[in-house]
Subunit: 494 residues, 2 copies
């Protein structure tokens, strides 16, 4: 940040909004003040991402990249545009996505395209025609590929940076197997990856659901998705993974010769961690009334060093701070020495608002004592640390901070679930910002009205059945009164 | 690659095309056989990039990322779409780019957009209106930002993967300064970065030119660009950097308060390393008749391990190879153990064609001798290496391979320049695939016809004046006969 950080005086350093009571304001203001997204770009739902959010998202992508590569997925990249003919090949899929597609129809000074091009809303219809060419024999599978890219959907609802944009940043993983069992095992692997990265690395607590038949990925057999809890009591969908069955293989002609030399259709899955949306959830879940609290693992600057300069000691203090910067940099930490001419107090506020997990302060007395003052953002606590212990201390403290953020978020999520057997009880739960655990006739059949009645009467949506824990259905559907086949969770949602 | 590498039998392992004599075939075929780009996507100029090319480009991006961050540029990301109104603000710029713009005019089932959106052909007109809001005071500068993204240009000429596509992958760096001197210093820094990364890391020899006034970036003052030499004797433009003067600041109202509290226009530069194009140049320059030769620094797999399995020793050999894999992986090398069931000979050919710089072979005898056989792809040489020396050996060999690739490329580039004082001599140089060094009236004035006459009569293009070496003009322009102000280089080009 150094180059532009000279401009401290013209920037806002102090942030104070009660997050729990006034979440929409909190979110909008922190995006502006911490320079995360600029809503003045002039195209609804499209926002530039300045360095502070982009660098954090880049690190978030890295964790996914590492996890996927470890599980033998390989990266690739497909074009941003998809010919219209491709999009129309799978009936349910085209119905699900066409309403939100951006269409390119012209080039230059009015040259009409013979076939319109869609900006990819998701890439099944771009990738699977090529898979049809690439896959020939059982030996070509499992084929596990992913790409990091922008996708484009013209959301009808009001847009908000990160949480609901018309261009968002994600990874999409597209995998092909010889059997349905292979595909289902991939779905389970994806759920594990979600837990590892989203909870393990990002510190976001999740519940994992099998979605209802009326809320699944268009064209697929089943959708499995993680939800986390936002400060306003609504849940938001994080990564989802889809068992596509052989529907797309039939639509896109992905066939192979099996070991008996017979032709068969392949089985497919896809998985879509939307990193920009998760960034929105991340800042919302971990942030506090003073601004951002970024996990140590994800912060663009993990440590910021503030020299406490008083008069003639300036050179010595700066020298001392530069050495600390070098030491920490060499040790592999992302460290930033803020040597601009703002006051230390101003800098404290500024970097607290930006969410830097650890601050190191050093002044003349610290030089004498061969120590520094270390401040942790998560619980706003200061302590003196001997210079010789600093590296070790920061490593341990970083882990502690991430653990604290995760535990605090988990504590809020826990105990939020209440059992509800009637519409009235569900409504009551929704009013109190809780999540209702309720019996339901079934999630397996499309076109039922129980779902709509619950939504109309309570404002809550059925998120599906838990697959991260074992639960047996019990009781009757609060709407139709039939014996319940499923236990579902109802919550207000994004 | 492991998952799909089972399919060895159905893939082509042996590649043999004389690169120098038949470069277009070589290029098309290596893209297909090494799975670098698939031209069957169905939209002219748009090609999927499978893992082997994508992973290499990703590493190429990393080297740029590191270099730019070291020089205090920060990453960000702007939207893919630009409102039409933005594009039309700088007259020369809009004239230069509008003919090649892809336009989005509709959403979903026929909803017309009020204002059309362009797929970014380059992002000046997306970014600078925001810079106008972000920049307020001299303290905000230098502002040094860049983004990694796709850009879209509807090329009229025939397209070729990497070398000329309609969607390509690049970095664009957009920088703002209080003075023209500051901007010019940035241009020089960019040229240094080009040398460091493109020659230092990618091993591509370059000449750096100040382009003529009729060949500069639309809307800028001056363009400085690097050219490298392709196997067919044509040069290709690699990164270019542009002194934009205050033209864009005036068009987009980027003003600031200077230290005397007066309002002034800012000065700008932009810099555009097109990584996908450089990948095209990289494989072309370093490749040979047997396929790719990837630099050690850039190869997705730096080392491939081939177990030489014979009958009952299989387990022991595989075990030995796995240990080597772990050792090299831990040491930070990108290593791949190819344990599929193809023959060793098949695997040798396959990975040679793919350009993996180092191959380690190990069989029963190697276990006994506590050694391995190490093969280097660049000069196709084998030698035995004691297991205990392997890490050190590979590190040194990697450097040697990169040096060799660079030296071989430089040797071809050197001695290619011939002095030419007449149109006939230039024509002769072009016919022989050489680069003509020739006096010219001037490169500083637009609308001269000397340039066109040279092009018409010789097929060569004026690349500009060298700025990486000092050269004084001497003689007369071979076309108009006026006293030469400049020494220019003429070459056939992409």
């Amino acid at each position: 940040m150094s180059s532009s950080d000279k401009n401290k005086e013209s920037k806002q350093a102090i942030f104070h909004i009660n997050k729990e009571e006034n979440f929409p304001d909190w979110f909008g203001e922190i995006c502006r003040v911490a320079e995360l997204a600029d809503i003045r770009y002039g195209v609804k739902g499209f926002t530039p991402f300045p360095p502070w959010s982009y660098m954090t998202m880049d690190i978030m992508f890295d964790f996914y990249d590492t996890a996927l590569k470890r599980k033998r997925h390989l990266p690739m990249l497909f074009p941003t545009v998809i010919p219209e003919g491709n999009l129309t090949k799978e009936t349910e899929h085209v119905e699900g996505f066409t309403p939100s597609v951006f269409w390119i129809g012209e080039i230059g000074d009015g040259e009409k395209l013979e076939e319109r091009l869609a900006l990819r809303p998701t890439s099944e219809t771009a990738i699977y025609p090529m898979y049809s060419l690439w896959i020939r024999s059982w030996r070509d599978m499992p084929l596990k590929r992913y790409q990091r890219c922008s996708v484009f959907r013209s959301e009808i609802k009001s847009t908000r940076p990160f949480l609901r944009g018309r261009e968002f940043l994600w990874i999409e993983s597209h995998n092909v197997f010889t059997t349905h069992e292979g595909a289902l095992a991939q779905v389970m692997e994806d759920i594990e990856t979600t837990k590892e990265v989203v909870t393990g690395d990002y510190g976001l607590p999740i519940m994992v659901f099998k979605r209802t038949q009326w809320d699944k990925f268009p064209g697929g057999l089943n959708t499995y998705a993680a939800d986390t809890l936002m400060p306003d009591g609504k849940v938001i969908q994080l990564p989802s993974t889809h068992d596509l069955g052989d529907n797309f293989a039939r639509a896109f002609d992905i066939k192979y010769l099996n070991e008996n030399n017979e032709t068969a259709y392949a089985w497919q899955t896809c998985y879509g961690p939307a990193v920009s949306r998760m960034f929105g959830a991340l800042i919302s879940v971990h942030g506090d009334d003073k601004g951002l609290r970024l996990p140590f693992k994800l912060a663009p600057y993990q440590v910021v060093i503030i020299p406490i300069i008083k008069g003639k000691n300036a050179d010595a203090v700066l020298e001392y701070c530069k050495k600390i910067e070098q030491t920490l940099d060499k040790a592999g930490f992302r460290v930033h020495l803020d040597d601009c001419d703002a006051t230390p107090g101003w800098k404290y506020n500024y970097w607290e608002m930006k969410g830097v997990p650890i601050r190191v302060e050093a002044g003349p007395r610290d030089i004498k004592e061969e120590q520094v003052v270390v401040f942790r953002r998560d619980i706003m606590k200061r302590e003196s640390v001997a210079l010789k212990d600093l590296k070790k201390h920061i490593k341990a403290l970083g882990k502690e901070i991430d653990q604290t953020l995760k535990s605090q978020a988990e504590a809020k999520f826990e105990g939020l679930v209440v059992d509800a057997d009637t519409i009235g009880q569900i409504e009551d739960a929704m009013d109190k910002g809780k999540i209702a655990r309720t019996p339901l006739c079934t999630i397996e059949m499309e076109g039922l009205s129980c779902d709509e009645e619950i939504k109309d009467k309570t404002g809550g949506e059925i998120r599906g059945t838990r697959i991260d824990i074992d639960e047996k259905a019990d009781g009757v559907c609060p709407v139709c009164g039939k014996v319940a086949q499923d236990i579902v969770y109802v919550a207000r949602s994004y």
